[in-house]
């Protein structure tokens, strides 16, 4: 899995209410519709600024707050290819993997707004083309790699009828 795109940078503690506000998420199961409001409390009009393949860059504790799976889904349906952050809140991290949104722990201090990045998940390498630098990636736990490779948890269940990590 390799992705190319621009960096959209946010700060620390980007919570799930900022990713997708409760006032929208309760209304619909239409994720494409929800995606139009992604990040709007932090960056109004964000949805319109994303080109397919771009990245959301966070600091520490990205995705803290509620368990709403609409958060990773809204990001995914906004055509963001992956979220890169120094650290993630645990429920968001699980939800992202379960729904097939790649989340990458790395030193995002080396990425600025608008930087052109290539992210190669299999090789575990991020190339910052704007800065001419490579950034190492913290590998995912084996269980999560398995779920991602299976295409998310729903596909994993379809395949095995339950959890199967042996």
């Amino acid at each position: 899995m390799q992705f190319n795109g621009k960096a959209h940078k946010f700060g620390n503690d980007v919570n799930t209410d900022y990713i997708i506000s409760g006032k929208y998420k309760f209304k619909t199961l239409d994720m494409k519709e929800l995606a139009k409001h992604v990040m709007e409390d932090l960056d109004p009009g964000f949805y319109g600024k994303v080109t397919a393949g771009d990245f959301i860059i966070g600091g520490t504790n990205f995705g803290c707050g509620s368990s709403r799976e609409q958060a990773p889904l809204a990001i995914k349906y906004a055509d963001v290819s992956a979220v890169l952050a120094k650290s993630f809140a645990r429920i968001f991290y699980r939800n992202a993997i379960n729904t097939g949104l790649p989340v990458v722990e790395c030193d995002t201090g080396q990425i600025d707004q608008g930087d052109e990045l290539t992210v190669n998940l299999a090789a575990g390498i991020i190339e910052n083309k704007t800065k001419g630098a490579t950034i190492p990636v913290k590998p995912l736990p084996a269980v999560m790699i398995k779920i991602l490779n299976d295409g998310g948890l729903a596909a994993h269940f379809r395949e095995y009828g339950g959890f199967n990590f042996d």
Binding site: K27, N61, S66, E69, Q70, R90, I91, N98, A154
Partner: protein
């Protein structure tokens, strides 16, 4: 080498000795979803080719977040939930029954040693009953519904030892706000918190729920306490079921042990827009407020309503303040009515809304206007949390909220407590 509470509970549910940082697939005792997460879980359930839920007696959905429905979009999702529970034969708590995190403990299905997943981040609340309960998303919920199992990374544990005695006017809410301010919003990420010490033992069961409820606000996966007489007395009101308490071994290994003396603690508030942006009430006293909220899964229990009523009795709220009260459950509501607590609150000028989440998550029931300031007993004050990103939310204890509703500005409740 000894084990922490969470290592023991996970060991008991996965058939092997679980140690921090291992990954285990464990049996779950109870599975819960609410109206913000269950609809998406139903989609995932079908996507997973799910047929039945693993055990209808160990599963429940709760309609509490937008209850009753404020618009047709939500109505459709509620209907979907009702139909699904009817088809699969498990319990749904419909509008007016209460907040999920009050209803599940009141159901008597969960107690010491239980393992619970809920598709709501504050599922950690039941840790106050010595259960490992944690929040998951909708796809995990669907996986749990189908299989009765869940995978976990066994967390490391931070032990919070709280010594001393809380002074009058200072409550468990003030203590947990202080602890979150101290360890920060991600200070316990991926970890379990164990709360112990004489200050915890001295708390009522209701006050303990407030502390466990907010473990997630420090990033924790769970917030656990040991079970004692207080726990079992509380449980005996709801169930005859026997639970076996789980204690930490003396030589359990902790990532960190933090000791506190709570005796000098002042009432605390979390300032906008982060739960760990905590200050003593004296620092923000005098800040005008327009709305006060008493309720939520953090502080909507009988004891909380009583504390607020004690302060509001014989007084009126400030004419420029709206006080919104949402009892945590129908039982709480009925008990509070029987005691005259609701009468007192309403006489003081409070508006009582349907039991449930109330205005906590910004879908209905009291969305603030631009530039307004809210003081709330809830657990989150993120920008936009209550439905308006141009409003400010302060978090505090029921006493501080009641005192502030009277004066129209953030107020130290000790002014009203003899």
């Amino acid at each position: 080498m000894g084990q922490t509470i969470i290592e023991k509970i996970l060991s008991n549910h996965c058939g092997q000795s679980a140690r921090a940082n291992e990954i285990v697939v464990a049996r779950v005792d109870y599975v819960m979803g609410q109206d913000g997460t269950a609809p998406l879980a139903i989609s995932a359930f079908h996507e997973m080719n799910g047929k039945d839920v693993f055990d209808p007696s160990r599963v429940a959905f709760v309609i509490d977040h937008s209850a009753p429905s404020p618009n047709e979009g939500v109505s459709a999702l509620h209907k979907l939930m009702r139909e699904f529970t009817r088809e699969k034969g498990f319990r749904i708590y419909d509008i007016g029954e209460g907040v999920c995190h009050q209803l599940i403990p009141e159901s008597g299905e969960v107690g010491p040693g239980s393992l619970v997943i809920g598709a709501d981040s504050h599922t950690c609340t039941y840790g106050a009953l010595n259960a490992f309960s944690t929040g998951v998303g909708s796809t995990d919920l669907a996986g749990g519904l189908i299989s009765g199992r869940m995978w976990f990374k066994v967390p490391e544990t931070i032990r919070f030892v709280c010594n001393g005695t809380l002074r009058p006017g200072v409550f468990s809410k003030d203590l947990i706000l202080y602890l979150i301010g101290d360890v920060t919003a991600d200070g316990a990420t991926y970890m379990s918190a164990e709360y112990t010490g004489e200050a915890i033992s001295a708390l009522s069961q209701e006050a303990r729920f407030t502390i466990a409820n907010m473990a997630i606000e420090m990033g924790a996966k769970a917030g656990l306490m040991e079970a004692d007489e207080t726990t079992f007395d509380w449980l005996s009101r709801f169930t005859k079921r026997q639970f076996i308490p789980v204690t930490a071994d003396r030589d359990a290994v902790y990532a960190d042990v933090r000791e506190y003396d709570v005796s000098k603690l002042e009432p605390q508030v979390a300032k906008p827009h982060q739960v760990d942006n905590v200050a003593p009430v004296s620092e923000v006293a005098g800040k005008p407020i327009q709305q006060a909220v008493l309720g939520t899964c953090t502080n909507g229990r009988l004891e909380d309503l009583r504390i607020a009523a004690g302060i509001l009795a014989g007084r009126k709220i400030h004419r420029e303040v709206r006080l919104i009260v949402a009892p945590a459950s129908r039982r709480v509501f009925l008990d509070a009515m029987a005691e005259g607590v609701i009468q007192t609150l309403v006489e003081s000028g409070a508006a009582v809304v349907t039991t449930g989440c109330g205005p906590c998550v910004g879908t209905h029931n009291g969305v603030p206007s631009d530039g307004e300031t809210v003081i709330s007993t809830a657990n989150r004050n993120f920008k936009g949390r209550m439905g308006n990103s141009k409003a400010e939310i302060f978090l505090a204890s029921p006493a501080t909220v009641a005192a502030s509703a009277i004066t129209g500005e953030i107020t130290d409740p000790r002014k009203f407590i003899k």
